[in-house]
Amino acid sequence: MSRDTAKVAVRPGDFLDIDHLLSDEERDIRDTVRAFVRDRVVPHVGEWFEAGTLPVELARELGALGLLGMHLEGYGCAGASATAYGLACMELEAGDSGVRSLVSVQGSLAMYAIWRWGSEEQKRHWLPRMAAGEVIGCFGLTEPDAGSDPASMRTRARRDGSDWILHGQKMWITNGSVADVAIVWARTDEGFRGFIVPKGAKGFTTQDIHGKLSLRASITSELLLDDVRLPADAMLPEATSLRGPLSCLNEARYGIVWGAAGAARACFEAALAYAKDRVAFGRPIAATQLQQSRLAHMALEVNRATLLALHLGRLKDAGRLAPEHVSLGKLGNVNAALDVARAARQVLGANGVTLEYPVIRHMSNLESVVTYEGTADVHALVVGGALTGIDAFR
């Protein structure tokens, strides 16, 4: 028997009442991150974006909140659920994709690599300080000529006595120049291996990438490794193939599925508020059918993306999440977020191109998000491969 639903009121900020699907603890975590982003990120992020920087101190604040490596167990990490981690990514990216990238790279790439593939000693040495935000990590996999195809990487590590000599170049590395430690993946005679390279190691330098018109509130660098000598215990002992770095990327992509929903929500909220406020031809533009259609479309995409993210979160917590699920999620949610951002930009008219409103910042950020951690094209091919059983790109 269906219940009487006459009294249920729809809330524009949570149209499908997705809040109801969260536990009290999940809501509390979400509310805390939301408040932090509202107070510490939103008032400043336009300036950071314009200046092309992200204050490093933010890492310590994020660490104090427990957000860095929050989904990992032990070693000073909070041990939260995948769903809670996702909710945090959503709120962070509602602030800015650059801030979420900082947290993704620290927790899901650098820390996860050590947590999953490192020795007990490596974990004890690095993870607590990384969780606190005292040590910033970066993750070097992509190269100038090896993006979607990491197996074509040129960076090599060779043994020299008990030491390793690392040589090569990594590109598009988030946090590169501000990192205290880099996880660098290299080809060796024993397969692909990961190395913990501390800042200041002889022969290891970084160079920031300038001229980005996207993810400007994020540091992106090139890592240059000129015969960097590392002791044997710098190698992550448990990873011997590309499964190592790909497992890390899968963690980060999962966070992006949520983050994209957050960026979309921020754009939708900005567009809704603007449409109700902006008067043209004697009435708010929200009163026009064209804008209402746009707003309805945006609300649909935001809610659908959030539900998809939540579903993947529940699957991950139940141990039932496959990489192909994450590919579908990233493909769908980032594209949806781009659609929402572009529609929102039009609702805001000329104001939509300024940093006074969050929309164009999100819109341009999402152009990076749709490309990094697996391009939309490659994710489509992963899904296509899973559907047909035919691998179209490898």
Binding site: D19, D24, E25, D28, I29, T32, A35, F36, A64, L65, G66, L67, M70, A78, G79, A80, A84
Partner: protein
């Protein structure tokens, strides 16, 4: 020493508040949250503990309310309280301020705190009076609307926000102090604190457990009766002065005030 912080679960700030005409009580359905003013009281307790001038052994969050109020206690614990006490009983429903103050005082007597802190007002009832009622029952000094607390030997030097300015008052413990939101900036609860909140001790008390005389609480034991309610009369639309030239704008405002003999 022990600090007890009185907290309350209130409708979320985003929920439109309304009186239920059938009961004459505030409609408390919908999303709820910890009273924001109480988060300042918890933060004040944490700062006294961390300040090191007082030896604070324990911070205890106490609430009176229905089952759902446990969530407010979890939040209070995630913000720093060491444990919590939940006074909950059907017989307490409908208590007015005097009855609620009595019931909370009875609960506080079991704890015998050196200091009781609370937010100066609840976000729903906004009575501003619970602190004073509780203090009266405990026969302890009451300070209200406090926006700064400094420890000076055995006394607390408090600044009160009054209508005419600021009072600086010294008080000896035990005391009951209600704080305003200007006193501090509450910290964000960390993830670990949120996740650990349910593991901290939570004691549930009935009215009988707290030694509450049932004739003094609940709707029947309350002196206040709610009569009829009506919406306030609609206000006439105000005048909007567009600020195109600031000198002109100031002139217009001055002329407007002058016309009404307000300056």
């Amino acid at each position: 020493m022990k600090i007890c912080v009185l907290v309350k679960e209130v409708p979320d700030a985003a929920v439109t508040k309304r009186i239920d005409p059938a009961t004459g009580r505030l409609d408390r359905s919908g999303e709820k949250n910890l009273n924001p003013y109480d988060t300042h009281a918890i933060e004040a307790a944490m700062q006294l503990k961390e300040g090191g001038q007082l030896q604070v052994d324990e911070i205890v969050a106490i609430t009176m309310g229905p089952e759902s109020a446990v969530r407010a206690l979890h939040k209070a614990v995630s913000l720093g309280a060491d444990r919590s006490v939940h006074l909950t009983d059907e017989a307490l429903a409908g208590s007015d301020v005097a009855a609620t103050g009595y019931a909370l005082a009875q609960t506080l007597k079991r704890e015998n705190p050196d200091l009781v802190l609370l937010g100066q007002q609840s976000d729903d009832g906004e009575c501003y009076t619970i602190g004073a009622v509780v203090a009266d029952h405990l026969q302890a000094p009451s300070l209200t609307q406090v926006i700064s607390i400094e420890v000076d030997g055995d006394v607390l030097r408090c600044e009160r926000q009054a209508e005419y300015g600021y009072d600086t008052v010294e008080v000896e413990l035990p005391a009951v102090i209600s704080v305003g939101d200007a006193i501090n900036e509450p910290r964000y609860p960390s993830l670990k604190a949120i996740m650990g909140a349910k593991k901290k001790p939570l004691e549930t008390l009935s009215a009988a457990d707290a030694g509450i005389d049932l004739s003094r609480v609940g709707a029947a034991g309350s002196q206040v009766e709610c009569g009829s309610f009506k919406a306030p009369p609609a206000k006439a639309a105000g005048t909007i002065i567009e600020d195109e030239d600031t000198n002109e704008t100031v002139e217009k405002i001055v002329a407007w005030l002058d016309e009404r003999k307000l300056i």
